[in-house]
């Protein structure tokens, strides 16, 4: 039994099954400052906000925020923000 645990493993299994995996997702952070880039309380528009503690701003009242703006992809550093696609 070999069972994929994380999304990287799932992508490998997908490729091994003969599917086109497309380009490897290799994101780059947009941010700075050392190993802690994690922050950013900026809310983003997203379709779920399962972590109730996560939203900060009034504009996020109803929808969407996630823990930090890095959720889209990227970064690990302080004011991480956007990401690549």
């Amino acid at each position: 039994m070999i069972r994929g645990i994380n999304l990287g493993a799932e992508r490998m299994e997908h490729l091994s099954a003969g599917h086109d995996g497309g380009p490897d997702p290799t994101p780059v952070c947009t941010t700075h400052d050392s190993p802690s880039c994690t922050l950013q309380d900026k809310c983003t528009v997203h379709d779920k906000c399962s972590l109730s503690d996560s939203c900060n701003f009034d504009s996020c009242n109803n929808d969407t925020c996630t823990i930090d703006s890095c959720h889209q992809d990227t970064c690990d550093i302080d004011h991480c923000t956007l990401v690549d696609s």
Partner: protein, 423 residues
């Protein structure tokens, strides 16, 4: 699939009697049978790196810069012991003009292409010392947002000593995400971050940030030195003060071997706490431990970290005179000027290539390379004079954390992972 797991650097480990294999080349984690483990151990002595692994498509050579850090002021009212900017002045004391700031905003929007969102960070020095530029940038960027349809997000890293009601209201109203630099309790913080003149700054920060902390609008970032290496205690202090989340990072040039040992022990305690919170279903609380959460998210995503961070790749810092640098830390080091307002970004592509993890021989054999990204570019230069060689203590500490976190992640249930990392 088994043949793909037979790599020289495949990391095998067991958690609670279950076997796992982590494949560094793809950031892929698998649960395996004991028979598979034995087979991998037996076969991998003959394996060549990347045998049978689909080769990832190369990253785009140059992405547009989507995030700008504006050094709105290269002056500061504090005299932090570890400041890489020479008390915030970066060898070039002064304040950014409104004209330079707005031209920087235009540079960002004009080159964003079809990106849905761009980001602007106010930095310094102490950015609140140049408040008129902050207001002007927000107004101009909002106008460009309306004109182009490209959303803009704002953030600011400041020391909190100059916050007042009007500034706080403006920051909240304009959705500027504010990160306060504070190193823990008064004893720890004041030893690291005195005011010019020597008095501590902790009491002033706690007082000035109180309204925004109470409104849950602030996050904190602590720098670790021998003064506060037992950082888990300082994280507790900051969370109790009402900061929404706390991240920390060591000032490598100040860390002694003893302080690093203390920091490693603190990491272990934080990881234990994180695992306990996940076990108890308190995912939001766990996520407030930002360092731990970020590394676990990296493991979860399976994405390769091609660069340590976005410095130079899709972010840049603009100094007060309009010169471009990979990030705020490089400001003032002319070897790393990437371009400038009116000239373009002529050296950015070369920096992207040079700073990639795949360009680093030293990291090439490290199992943690694609989770780590090769260390902070600036810290590498400060420690070893080159982008390509990370600080040795950083490497050891990072590998130790990632080794533990792989096991924490492997031990989670699928439901816990889903709650912690919503799709």
């Amino acid at each position: 699939m088994l043949d793909q797991l037979v790599q020289p650097d495949t990391r095998l480990f067991a958690v609670e009697g279950r076997d796992f294999a982590y494949l560094p080349a793809r950031n892929a984690l698998f649960e395996i049978d004991a028979e598979d483990r034995i087979a991998i151990e037996a076969a991998r002595g003959n394996a060549r790196p990347a045998d049978a692994i689909p080769v990832p498509a190369p990253a785009a050579p140059a992405r547009p810069v989507l995030s700008l850090t504006l050094m709105v002021v290269q002056e500061c009212n504090l005299a932090c012991l570890y400041c890489y900017g020479g008390e915030g002045e970066y060898k070039n004391r002064g304040r950014m003009s409104v004209e330079t700031a707005l031209a920087s905003v235009d540079h960002l929007f004009d080159r964003a292409g079809n990106a849905p969102e761009v980001s602007i960070t106010f930095f310094g020095g102490e950015p609140l010392l140049n408040w008129p530029v902050v207001e002007a940038v927000v107004g101009h960027a909002r106008a460009r947002e309306a004109e182009t349809g490209i959303r803009v997000g704002f953030s600011m890293t400041c020391n909190g000593t100059l916050l007042d009601a009007a500034k706080s209201d403006f920051l909240v109203a304009n959705r500027v995400s504010v990160l306060i630099s504070i190193d823990g309790d008064a004893a720890a913080h004041d030893g690291n971050r005195p005011q010019k003149g020597g008095r501590g700054s902790h009491a002033q920060i706690v007082s000035k940030t109180e309204p925004l902390r109470n409104a849950r609008k602030l996050s904190a970032r602590a720098t670790v030195t021998p003064n506060n290496a037992a950082i888990d205690r300082q994280v507790d202090h900051l969370l109790k003060l009402g900061f929404r989340g706390v991240a920390f990072s060591p000032a490598l040039d100040m860390m002694t071997p003893e302080a690093f040992a203390e920091l490693d022990a603190a990491y272990d305690r934080l990881i234990d706490r994180f695992a306990g919170l996940v076990e108890a279903g308190q995912f939001a609380q766990a996520a407030r431990l930002r360092n731990i959460y970020a590394l676990l998210e990296r493991i979860h995503s399976g994405r390769r970290k091609t660069h340590f961070c976005g410095a130079g790749t899709n972010m840049m810092a603009v100094d007060k005179d309009g010169e471009f640098y990979p990030c705020h830390r490089f400001v003032g080091d002319k070897r790393f000027v990437l371009g400038g307002l009116g000239r373009g970004e002529e050296k950015r592509a070369a920096f992207i290539a040079e700073s990639a993890i795949d360009a680093r021989d030293h990291c090439g054999q490290c199992w943690a390379r694609n989770l780590c990204g090769g260390g902070c570019h600036h810290e590498n230069v400060a420690s070893n004079g080159t982008l390509a060689l990370p600080n040795a203590d950083y490497c050891r500490s990072t590998r130790s954390q990632l080794d533990r976190l792989l096991k924490v992640y492997a031990a989670m249930t699928p439901a816990q992972r889903e709650d912690l990392f919503p799709a």
